[in-house]
Symmetry: none
C-alpha cells in the first residue's frame, strides 16, 4: 500500500482547519563557528510561545544532503514524494510566470540566441538582451500559427521565454535543441519516444516560423528550446486529503505550485498583512490554508544575515493575527534552508513547528534549529508533514481494526 | 528516481577534499549498567574539539537491529544500500585475501575435509590442519588444469582456501557442495540456474582432479566448496560521485572492499602513522580518502575493553596530523559497533562525526555514543553518509528548480 493509498483510505472530513505557514528558506547557519543562526538570532516571542505549546522537529526536504529547488521543496511539504513526482523544467518555468498549464499542454523554456548568416550560434544568450527588448521580440512571435495546436509565447526575463503548445496528442518527451556551444546550429527538436513524435514536429514548425520572423533581428535572431514537459500529474488536495485548500501567495511560482495540487488561489496580496487579511476573508470557505512568505529565502540568497533576521521577526509579529482565527492545526516550516552564509538553498533540515490541542508537548520553549533537534517530531521527511497535519486535525481514521 | 540516479544527476566536481576515517567497530557498550562505553572512557580531546565544530549523529549500518559483517558495513558507508548490493561469500573471501577479482571470475570458499575409503566425510574440517600444512596442500592443487578456464587456488587459514575460476560464460549460481554432515559424501556441484551449468561442470572437474591429487593425504583428502559468487557489480566512486578515491588500509579485506568500488589503493602502510604519511603523499592526487583503522574492532572482538580504549586514544592522537591537511570534509565513523562486552560485531548505531565549514553546529562538545544521540545528524542510515559528505563539500547541484 502506498502512502497516498493509505491517505485516501483514512482521510475523513471534519470542521477542523489547518494553516501551513511556509517561510521560504527558513533554516540557516551561523556565520561563525559557535555563532547563532538567523532564527536563533531573531527575537521571536510568538514562535517561542507556540513552540512551548506545540511539537517541533526538523524536516528533511528530499533526502539527507540533497538541496531542493522550490518545486521539490514544496511538493514535499504538500505530501508528494519529490523523487516520485517531478515537475519538468518547462512546466515549472510556465508555472513560475503564472501560466496555468492545461492537461494537454507541453511547455518548454526558450532562450533567444544570435545566429550568423550561416545559421550558426554566435551568442547562446543573444547578448542577454534586456527584458523590454525581449518582450518586444516575444510579441512578434505571437504571429506563429501551427495547424491543430494553440501556441502561447510568454516572456520571462532577459533572453528567456516560455512556449506552450496546447492540443491533443502532445507529449513532453522531446530533446533540448540547445547544442550548449557556439559555432554550431541549434539542434532540431527530436522525440525521445514515439509518443512525442508529433510534439517534435510541432516544435520544429514553431522554430521554422520563428526563425523567419526573427531573421531581421540583430541579437535575438534565433532560439533554442529546453526542458519540454507536460503538466505534472499530481492528485489534488481534494482527491487525496479531502481538503478544500486555499493558497495565499505573492509570487507566481508559489501560486503555480499550489495550483498544480489543486489549491484555489485566494486574494491578491502583496504584503504579509494583506495575505493575512485574505486568510481572514476566506476563513470559512476552506479547510486548509497555504501561506507563503518569500523574504526569508530572498534575504538568505542575498547573503543578508541581518535582513533575514528582520524578516523572521516580521513573520513572528504577524502570528497573533493568525492565532486569533484559532486554527486547529498551525504549522510553521520552510521548503528548505537558505543560509545567508551560503547565499543559496541548502540541504540542512528545516525547523518545523506544529501546534494543536492534540500535540504531545516536548518540553521546548524556543523555536530554533538547535531547539528543534530535541523536538518531538524528530527529524522527518518533509513528505510526512501532511500526515502529521491531518492526524493532529483528527482528520484520519484508524488504520486496521 | 533511485538514490544512485539522483547522485549521478547532481554530482559536480570541485577542488574540495573529503576524508572518511573508519574506525572499524567503533561503537561500544558499558560493561556494567550505568557504566561508560569504550569511547566514553577514552580521553579524546581532538575528537571532542571536532565535535564542537562539526555535526554528530549515529549511523545505522543496515537496519535497526541488524548486525553487519565487514562487507555490508563498508558498502553502507560507501553509499551502496547493503540490502540491494550484495557481495557473495566467495567473492568476499577472495577479496579478503587480496585476490583481485576480474569481471569473468567466479570465486568459492573451500574447506578441506577428511574422506574415508568409501568417499564419505569423516571430518568436515580435516582436523583443522594448521595453516602451514594447508599451504602445502594448496600448493599441490596448482596442478589442476581445466580446458578453457584459468584456475586459482589460494590458501586462507587452517583448512580454508579460496578457488577462483576465470573464463567466459561463468556464473556464480552454483549450490554449495558441503552436505553439512559426516558419514555422507560431498555433494556434486549443481547449477541453480541454466546460466550456471557450465560453472557447475567446471567445479565438478576441479573436484575430480583435486580428489585424485589429494588421495594420499591423511587429513585433507577431500574438499567441499561453498558460496560460489562472481564479482559484485558496484558502480565505481568515479562513475557515481565523480570522485577520484584513494583507499589507505592495512588489511587485505578492506583494501579489497575499497577496490570493489573503484578506489585506488595507496601506500603500503602497516601502522596508522604510515597510513597518514601515505595520505599526505597522495593528497593532491585524489578527492576522497578512505582511511581504515582496524584495531577498534579487533580489540572489541577480543573483549579487551581497556585495549579498545587505548586504540581509540591512539586514533584521537593522530587526528591533528590529518587536520593539518585541511580537509574540506572530515568524517570519523565506524562500519558497525563491536562492543567488548559482546566480543563481536553488533547492531548498535555507530557514533559519527562530520566536520566542515558548511556544518550546522549542534551544540555538542564531546564525541561519544551518548553525545551523538543529541547530534544534528540524528540517527541515519549509513548509506546516506556519502550524501552528507558530498553536500558538505558543496559537490552536489540543486535538485529541481
Amino acid at each position: 500500500m502506498t502512502e497516498h493509498e493509505l491517505i485516501r483510505e483514512l482521510a475523513e472530513k471534519n470542521a477542523a482547519k489547518i494553516v501551513m505557514l511556509v517561510a521560504d528558506g527558513l533554516g540557516g547557519l551561523p556565520l561563525e563557528p559557535h555563532g547563532r543562526t538567523e532564527l536563533e538570532t531573531a527575537r521571536t516571542p510568538h514562535l517561542d510561545a507556540l513552540a512551548a505549546r506545540g511539537t517541533s522537529g526538523l524536516s528533511v526536504p528530499v533526502l539527507p544532503g540533497i538541496t531542493p529547488g522550490s518545486g521539490p521543496g514544496h511538493l514535499g511539504l504538500f505530501g508528494y514524494d519529490p523523487l516520485a513526482f517531478k515537475i519538468g523544467r518547462g512546466a515549472l518555468e510556465a508555472t513560475g510566470i503564472g501560466f496555468e498549464l492545461g492537461p494537454h499542454d507541453v511547455a518548454a523554456r526558450g532562450n533567444f540566441c544570435t545566429l550568423d548568416s550561416a545559421g550558426l550560434i554566435t551568442d547562446r544568450r543573444a547578448g542577454r538582451i534586456p527584458s523590454e527588448e525581449s518582450f518586444r521580440v516575444v510579441e512578434r512571435l505571437q504571429g506563429v500559427r501551427i495547424p491543430g495546436v494553440e501556441t502561447f509565447v510568454k516572456p520571462v526575463k532577459e533572453h528567456r521565454f516560455v512556449v506552450v503548445f496546447r492540443g491533443p496528442g502532445l507529449d513532453g518527451g522531446v530533446a533540448d535543441t540547445d547544442p550548449q556551444a557556439t559555432g554550431v546550429p541549434p539542434l532540431d527538436p527530436q522525440p525521445h519516444t514515439p509518443a512525442a513524435a508529433r510534439t517534435a514536429e510541432v516544435a520544429k514548425e514553431f522554430v521554422r516560423q520563428a526563425r523567419a520572423i526573427l531573421a531581421d533581428e540583430k541579437k535575438a535572431s534565433g532560439l533554442v528550446l529546453r526542458g519540454f514537459a507536460g503538466k505534472p500529474r499530481l492528485p489534488s488536495y481534494l482527491d487525496l486529503y479531502g481538503l478544500r485548500a486555499a493558497a495565499i501567495a505573492v509570487y507566481p511560482m508559489y501560486k503555480g505550485l499550489a495550483r498544480l495540487v489543486g489549491m484555489t488561489l485566494v486574494g491578491d496580496a502583496h504584503t504579509l498583512d494583506e495575505q493575512i487579511a485574505a486568510l481572514e476573508t476566506c476563513w470559512n470557505d476552506y479547510d486548509f490554508f497555504f501561506l507563503h512568505f518569500k523574504y526569508t529565502d530572498s534575504t538568505g540568497e542575498d547573503g543578508a544575515f541581518e535582513q533575514k533576521v528582520k524578516r523572521i521577526e516580521e513573520l513572528d509579529a504577524a502570528l497573533p493575527r493568525i492565532e486569533r482565527l484559532r486554527p486547529d492545526v498551525l504549522i510553521v516550516t520552510g521548503d528548505h534552508s537558505t543560509p545567508s552564509k551560503l547565499q543559496s538553498h541548502s540541504w540542512h533540515p528545516v525547523p518545523t513547528l506544529l501546534v494543536a490541542d492534540t500535540c504531545r508537548p516536548d518540553g521546548l520553549d524556543a523555536f530554533s534549529e538547535r531547539a528543534c533537534l530535541r523536538g518531538g517530531l524528530g527529524q522527518f521527511p518533509a513528505k510526512h508533514l501532511m500526515l502529521l497535519a491531518m492526524a493532529h486535525a483528527l482528520k484520519f481514521g484508524k488504520y486496521g481494526a
